[in-house]
C-alpha cells in the first residue's frame, strides 16, 4: 500500500510538471501582451515597455519558465495581470466556496442517487425503475444554466422562499461579523456556533447545490443500478441465495458494497469536473467561488492566473484519483 502511494505521488508530481510546462507554453503562444494588461487598457507604449522590463517579460521564455518554477517551489504563483494581487491569495479566497458547494452537492447526490439506483435495481423494469430512469437521465441531460434559471424563477421570484443568489444575505454581511476560521462557511459558522449565519448560508446553498449535484445524482443512480444488476447475476449471489440468506442481506451486505467501486470512480471524476466547471451556476447565483475567476482569467488572458488555476485543477484531479484508488483498494479483489 505504501509503495503504491509513493508511486502514485511521484507520478502525480511528474503529471503536474507536464501540466505546468504545457500550460506555460500554450498561454504564451496565444497572441497577447501581458505587459499591456499589467499597466491597463490605454497605457502608453512607454508604460508598457517599463512594465515588460519590470515583469521580466523581455527575457527569453525558458528564463521566464525557470523563474516561474523557482517561485512556484517557494509557493508563489505570481501576480494577476488584472488585479495585481498574488494568485495564491486569490485562489485561497475563492476555492473554499467552490469546494464547499461541490462537496455538499456531491454528498447530497450520493444520498439521493445511491438509494435511487438501488431501488431501481431491486425493482427492475417496474414503474419505480422507469421513474428512476426518467429522473436520472433528466438530471444528467438537463442544461445546468436552464435548471438554475428555472429554480431561481420559481423559488425566488414566484414562491419567495429562497434567495436569488450569493452566499449570505446582504443584511447579514452588512450587520454581522462573518466568522473566518477555515474559509468554509458551513464549518466556520458551526465552529463559532453562529446558527443565524449557518441557517442563512444553508438557505443560499440549496439552489446552487441542486444545480451542481443534478448531474451527479443521475450518474450515481444509473451507475449503481447497472453495477448492482451485474453483481446480482453473479455466481456468489446465486450461492448466497441458495443458502437461504435474506434478499435484504444479499443486497446490502454483498451486492451494494461491491458495486461501490465504479460509483466512487464516477463521483470523484464528477467532483473534479464540477470543481473547475461551476462557472454557470456560480455566475447565476453570484456564488463567490472559483468558477467566475476561471472565466475572467481565460477571457482576459490573465496568464499567471490561468496557470495557477490549471495547477489547482491538476492537483484536485490527482488527489481525487488517489482517494478513489484507495477506496477501491478496500475491495480485496483489487490488487494494487
Amino acid at each position: 500500500m505504501l509503495s503504491f502511494l509513493v508511486r502514485r505521488l511521484l507520478l502525480g508530481i511528474l503529471t503536474l510538471f507536464g501540466v505546468i510546462l504545457i500550460t506555460f507554453i500554450l498561454v504564451r503562444v496565444v497572441p497577447s501582451d501581458p505587459a499591456a494588461q499589467w499597466v491597463g487598457g490605454r497605457a502608453t507604449p512607454e508604460q508598457v515597455e517599463a512594465a515588460r522590463e519590470e515583469l521580466g517579460l523581455d527575457k527569453p521564455i525558458y528564463v521566464q519558465l525557470e523563474h516561474y518554477i523557482r517561485d512556484l517551489l517557494k509557493g508563489n504563483l505570481g501576480y494577476s495581470l488584472m488585479t495585481h494581487q498574488p494568485i495564491i491569495k486569490e485562489l485561497k479566497n475563492r476555492f473554499p466556496a467552490t469546494l464547499e458547494l461541490v462537496l455538499i452537492s456531491s454528498i447530497v447526490a450520493l444520498l439521493i442517487g445511491l438509494p435511487l439506483g438501488l431501488i431501481s435495481a431491486k425493482a427492475k423494469n417496474s414503474w419505480i425503475d422507469h421513474f428512476s430512469r426518467f429522473f436520472s437521465i433528466g438530471a444528467i441531460s438537463i442544461p445546468t444554466f436552464w435548471l438554475a434559471l428555472v429554480l431561481q424563477l420559481i423559488f425566488f421570484m414566484i414562491l419567495e422562499v429562497l434567495p436569488s443568489g450569493g452566499q449570505l444575505s446582504m443584511k447579514i454581511i452588512l450587520f454581522q461579523d462573518i466568522p473566518r476560521v477555515t474559509g468554509f462557511m458551513f464549518l466556520d459558522s458551526l465552529i463559532t456556533g453562529n446558527f443565524v449565519i449557518l441557517k442563512d448560508f444553508l438557505k443560499h446553498l440549496i439552489l446552487p447545490a441542486i444545480c451542481v449535484g443534478a448531474y451527479t445524482i443521475g450518474l450515481v443512480a444509473r451507475m449503481t443500478r447497472s453495477a448492482l444488476l451485474e453483481i446480482l447475476s453473479e455466481d456468489y449471489i446465486k450461492a448466497a441465495r441458495s443458502y437461504g440468506l435474506t434478499e435484504r442481506l444479499i443486497l446490502y451486505s454483498y451486492a451494494l458494497k461491491n458495486s461501490l467501486g465504479p460509483t466512487t470512480t464516477v463521483v470523484t471524476l464528477a467532483m473534479g469536473y464540477a470543481l473547475m466547471n461551476t462557472f454557470l451556476v456560480e455566475s447565476i447565483f453570484s456564488w463567490p467561488g472559483i468558477g467566475k475567476y476561471v472565466a475572467n482569467a481565460v477571457t482576459c488572458l490573465d496568464y499567471p492566473a490561468i496557470i495557477g488555476i490549471t495547477i489547482l485543477g491538476a492537483c484536485a484531479y490527482i488527489i481525487l484519483n488517489l482517494i478513489t484508488d484507495i477506496i477501491i483498494s478496500l475491495d480485496p479483489r483489487v490488487k494494487l
Binding site: S32, D33, G166, K171, L174, K292
Partner: protein, 521 residues
C-alpha cells in the same frame, strides 16, 4: 442499514424545514444596493485603477473638481476656486479648508502635490492624463500651482474619473506600496471602505462622519456595490426590490421594466461610441473612395434599431453627442447603396470583388449583430466580409502586428473618455503613430495632427475657439473616412422607485455618487 436511511431522511427533512422559511422583503432604508454587472474594482490603488473601480473609488476619494458635461460646468470638490494664466501654462487652485481624510489628517497643498506626483511617478493606469504637467508647486497650505509644459485643459484633467484622486500622504507613506492594492484606502470622500470581499465581488461602504459636506438631510449611511454578473439575476432582484439600482440589462427588457410601477428607467447619453476602423495602410482600404463607399454601405439605422432597440443614435463624427466638440453641423454618411456603388466604380472596383477581414470582440453580442448586418450589406456590393470574433488581447495583438499585411482590414471597438475632452478621441484614435497603439485605422495626416494639437492647446485657454478647431479637424476625418461612426450609445439605469437623488453623469460611466442619493419614504 434501515436505521441509517431513516436517519438520513430525517436529517434531510430537518435541513429542508430549517432552511425553508419565507424570506421577507429585504428592502430597508439602512443601505443602498447597486447590482453592478462586473467586478466593482480591480485595483484599490487610486493611482493605478483604470477600470471598473471608477464606480467604487469615486465614492471613497475625491478630485479637485467634478465635471458635469451635460451642463458644461465644474462642481467644486476639494478645490473651491481656480484660475489659469492667459497663456494657459500656470493653473492655481485654492483648496477647501477643513477637509479631513479618513485617517483623520487634513487636506492641504502638500497632499495634492504628493497624490499627483505619486500617480505620475508610478506611471500606471491613466497616469498619462498628467502628461502636460511639468511640475507642481506648493504656494501655501491651501494653494497649489501647476506649471504646464504646454497649454492644456487642466480643469478637465483634474476632474477625470481616473488617476486624479487626492489621497492622504500620511496613510500612504506609513504602509508598504501594496497596501492600497490589497484593499485599503486613504481618501477623503463621503464614504469609507468598510469591507471589500474580492471573492464575493462586494464593496461595502460606510459613511465618513467627518465628511466636509456634512450629513444633514437624507443620505445613506451604508452602500453596497456588488458584482451580479448574470443579467437575468440583476433583472430579478431589481424587480423584487432587493437592489436599488442596476445597469446593462438586455435592451429587450427595457419596455417591460418601464411598465413596472416599482421601477424607474432612466435613459441618458453616454460618451461611449462604437466605431469601425478601416485599415488605411492596406489595399483596397487605402483608397479614400473605397472607404467612403463602405461608409455609405453601412446600415446605420438598422443597427440602431436592431442591436440597440433604438437606445442610441447614429454617430456624427468621433465625438459623441452631448460632449463639447461634438457638432450637429458635421457631415454624416447615410446608408445609400447606389452612392456606394458609384464610389466603388470610381475607385476602380465596379463589381466589388474583394475580400475583407473584420475582427470583433468575441462575446460582445452588440458588436456581432452589428458586423453581421454590415456583412449582409457588403454582400450586395459583391464584397466578401469575413468576420472573426477574438478575445480582446488577441484582436489587439493582431491589429498591432509588425507585418501590415497580416493585420485585419476592419477593426471594431468602443471608445470612451478618460478625460472629458475631444482630444481623447482625436489623439488616441487618429493621431499619426509610428507603432500602432489605438490608432487602429493607421491614419496619418499632418494637417489633422496639427489641428488636433492646436485645439488641445486652445482648450486650456479658450474653449469656444478650441471647439471650432476640433470641428475643423473632424471635417477632415469625415472627408477621409478612416472610420465609420456607428452609434453613440445611451446609458440606461434601472432604479427602485424609492431610490432617489441619482443623476447620471456620463463623464463618470456607471458611477453612482451615493452621497447624493436617498430613500424616499
Amino acid at each position: 442499514m434501515k436505521k441509517y436511511y431513516l436517519l438520513i431522511v430525517v436529517t434531510f427533512l430537518l435541513f429542508t424545514f430549517f432552511a425553508f422559511t419565507v424570506i421577507g422583503n429585504s428592502q430597508t432604508d439602512e443601505f443602498a444596493f447597486y447590482a453592478y454587472n462586473s467586478t466593482p474594482v480591480t485595483d484599490w490603488d487610486p493611482s493605478v485603477e483604470f477600470s471598473n473601480g471608477i464606480v467604487s473609488l469615486n465614492n471613497v476619494y475625491e478630485t479637485l473638481l467634478r465635471y458635469d458635461p451635460l451642463e458644461d460646468k465644474f462642481v467644486k470638490l476639494l478645490a473651491t476656486d481656480y484660475t489659469a494664466s492667459s497663456d494657459g501654462l500656470t493653473w492655481t487652485f485654492t483648496l477647501r479648508k477643513g477637509v479631513k481624510f479618513h485617517d483623520g489628517t487634513e487636506l492641504n497643498a502638500d497632499a495634492v502635490k504628493f497624490s499627483i506626483d505619486r500617480t505620475i511617478e508610478m506611471n500606471m493606469g491613466a497616469s498619462f492624463i498628467w502628461a502636460p504637467v511639468d511640475r507642481i508647486n506648493v504656494v501655501d497650505d491651501y494653494t497649489v500651482e501647476f506649471k504646464l509644459k504646454y497649454p492644456a485643459p487642466l480643469d478637465l484633467i483634474c476632474s477625470s474619473g481616473y488617476a486624479a484622486f487626492i489621497m492622504s500622504p500620511t496613510a500612504v507613506k506609513s504602509h508598504p506600496d501594496s497596501w492600497l492594492t490589497e484593499g485599503h484606502e486613504a481618501g477623503s470622500g463621503p464614504y469609507k471602505l468598510e469591507k471589500y470581499q474580492q471573492e464575493r465581488g462586494e464593496v461595502i461602504l460606510t459613511w465618513f462622519e467627518d465628511y466636509w459636506g456634512g450629513w444633514e438631510g437624507n443620505h445613506f449611511k451604508k452602500a453596497v456595490i456588488k458584482d451580479v454578473s448574470e443579467a437575468v439575476t440583476r433583472r430579478l432582484i431589481i424587480e423584487k426590490g432587493e437592489a436599488d439600482i442596476t445597469i446593462e440589462l438586455p435592451y429587450e427588457d427595457i419596455t417591460s421594466l418601464q411598465d413596472n410601477k416599482n421601477i424607474n428607467v432612466l435613459i441618458g447619453p453616454s460618451f461611449q461610441n462604437l466605431m469601425l476602423f478601416f485599415n488605411t495602410g492596406k489595399e483596397p482600404l487605402n483608397n479614400k473612395l473605397v472607404r467612403q463607399a463602405l461608409s455609405y454601405a453601412f446600415p446605420y439605422q438598422d443597427v440602431v434599431s436592431y442591436c440597440l432597440e433604438g437606445y442610441g443614435r447614429q454617430g456624427r463624427g468621433p465625438i459623441p453627442y452631448g460632449l463639447w466638440g461634438h457638432s450637429e453641423e458635421l457631415f454624416q454618411y447615410k446608408y445609400d447603396l447606389n452612392k456606394a456603388k458609384e464610389l466603388l466604380e470610381k475607385a476602380g472596383y465596379p463589381e466589388g470583388g474583394f475580400k475583407l477581414l473584420l475582427t470583433y470582440l468575441s462575446g460582445d453580442e452588440a458588436e456581432r449583430k452589428t458586423v453581421e448586418l454590415f456583412k449582409a450589406k457588403l454582400a450586395e456590393l459583391n464584397i466578401d466580409l469575413e468576420i472573426r470574433g477574438m478575445p480582446w488581447d488577441s484582436q489587439w495583438a493582431l491589429a498591432r502586428d509588425n507585418n501590415l499585411e497580416k493585420r485585419q482590414d476592419i477593426f471594431i471597438m468602443y471608445w470612451w473618455p478618460d478625460v472629458c475632452d475631444p482630444y481623447c478621441w482625436l489623439y488616441s484614435n487618429f493621431y499619426s503613430e509610428e507603432e500602432p497603439f489605438f490608432n487602429l485605422c493607421y491614419y496619418k495626416n499632418k494637417e489633422f495632427d496639427s489641428l488636433a494639437d492646436k485645439a488641445y492647446k486652445e482648450s486650456g485657454i479658450d474653449r469656444d475657439k478650441a471647439t471650432k478647431t476640433y470641428i475643423k479637424a473632424q471635417d477632415i476625418l469625415m472627408e477621409d473616412a478612416p472610420v465609420v461612426y456607428i452609434y453613440d450609445k445611451k446609458n440606461v439605469f434601472f432604479l427602485n422607485k424609492t431610490f432617489q437623488g441619482f443623476k447620471d453623469n456620463p463623464a463618470y460611466p456607471n458611477v453612482v455618487f451615493f452621497y447624493d442619493t436617498y430613500r424616499e419614504k
